[in-house]
Symmetry: C2
Subunit: 264 residues, 2 copies
């Protein structure tokens, strides 16, 4: 019966051409490689090499055997991957959301419903989530519109926050058109909101801060307007010295829909 590690030796020999190179490559002695090759010939039951006194090379059958070795090793890798992925799918619930807010409530809900499962959350673009839905690479998808087999989950209203001294502070509401042209401080990982804002406010520039503490520091100490949402404020993302103003456009208020794949 073949040994997979010997097939690796064979494949390496097919590429490197010398037993000595193979032994270097695997950090083992040359006699070991010699024996591997001898054992491979036994296992295949055919001659694989042309042997001269101090030269060895693959004969046509040996070349064929090396090809088969490659296929078999690939099949081996594939088998490992299949089983590991399957096992992972048994233990992990993968949630892919287009925005962070739905996760704040969804994760605790799922977590307590499936206490023995590990939750894996990702915030992705709408396109990526649609693809994940299509190829079944997540268990729960959250998108900002209704789609097949989805159920409504939560609504979120986009706001802007400005310092009390800011010229917009007295507005009761603003439209994207009103604020187009202002430069905004933007927290990264706000999901699809990012793209929406860029589309609606082409004249604005967005200063992205990946680090949350840096973002807070800058927001506290600058006049730059920021984005926020009603759900974000409930969740503690609120600053006392800032005024929060809703954006009146229809697109600034979204309903998130959830798709759950089976019983996990």
């Amino acid at each position: 019966m073949l040994n997979l590690y010997e097939l690796e030796h064979l494949l390496a020999f097919a590429e490197l051409g010398r037993l000595s190179r193979v032994s270097e490559h695997f950090h083992i002695s040359t006699p070991t490689i010699t024996r591997s090759m001898q054992h491979l010939e036994e296992a295949f039951g055919v001659s694989l090499f042309d042997r001269e006194k101090n030269r060895i090379s693959l004969n046509p059958t040996g070349i064929k055997a090396a090809e088969q070795a490659r296929l078999l090793l690939e099949a081996h890798e594939h088998a490992l991957e299949e089983v590991r992925n399957y096992d992972r799918a048994q233990h992990v619930i993968s949630i892919k959301s287009c925005a962070p807010a739905p996760l704040w409530t969804l994760v605790p809900e799922i977590s307590s419903a499936y206490p023995d499962r590990i939750l894996e959350t990702q915030i992705l673009s709408i396109e990526n989530i649609e693809q994940a839905l299509a190829d079944h690479s997540c268990h729960i998808a959250v998108l900002p519109y209704a789609f097949p087999d989805s159920t409504p989950y939560i609504r979120e209203q986009l706001l802007i926050s400005v310092k009390k001294e800011h010229q917009l502070a007295s507005c009761k509401s603003v439209s994207f058109a009103d604020i187009n042209g202002y430069n905004f401080l933007l927290r990264s990982e706000i999901g699809f909101w990012d793209k929406l804002c860029r589309e609606k406010m082409p004249a604005s520039r967005f200063l992205i801060q990946r680090d949350n503490t840096e973002y807070d520091e800058i927001a506290r100490n600058s006049m730059l307007p920021c984005f926020a949402t009603d759900l974000g404020r409930k969740n503690g993302y609120s600053m006392p010295d800032r005024v929060y103003i809703p954006i009146s456009d229809a697109e600034a208020c979204v309903s998130f829909y959830i798709h759950r794949r089976g019983l996990f």
Copy 2:
């Protein structure tokens, strides 16, 4: 890294359900199987079994792993077969002929042209040879008609042989119609001639003798007419107390054509 023999254990366990059955099946001890299963879990890097105090069973991942084990073992078998077939094709020249006569000269010719090769000859029906040509399962094909990439090789004339006392003995030639109704002694392994005779002489019965010495014995000691050919007589298949009469029909004289696949 996985061991193929351990995958066999896993597959057997998936089928037999008990480690003890697996150990019986492979004629090894139970502890060995226990260890195989433990090592498989290590190699896959995931848990494969639900273990109770004195019961072990595959968990869902384990079932998946057993499926992958089957695929991998099949891939292994396939790899061995591929290499062995390839090796065989390197050392053997396979000749498939519709009749024995062309082989009498063809085999020595090929044999001396390729002295290091083993010749494998088969006499088959025309249909089987056409299929072998199509799926490249022979190096040389001999058929009784011209076909793509074929070259003419040799002609053979079908004869009948009768005892000197036989009522046909005085004929200079006969047609299939003349001899239709006579019962004939027939040597097996005469290839496509067999089928031709049955078609042309539906009223005749054919007494087949597989064993050549038995055939000779019966031919020598009975009045039954037999078939022969000019090439057969040259090759020593000739009896002094018999008269050989050619069959006049066009179909009774055939040209054999040869197709050679590449340089082997």
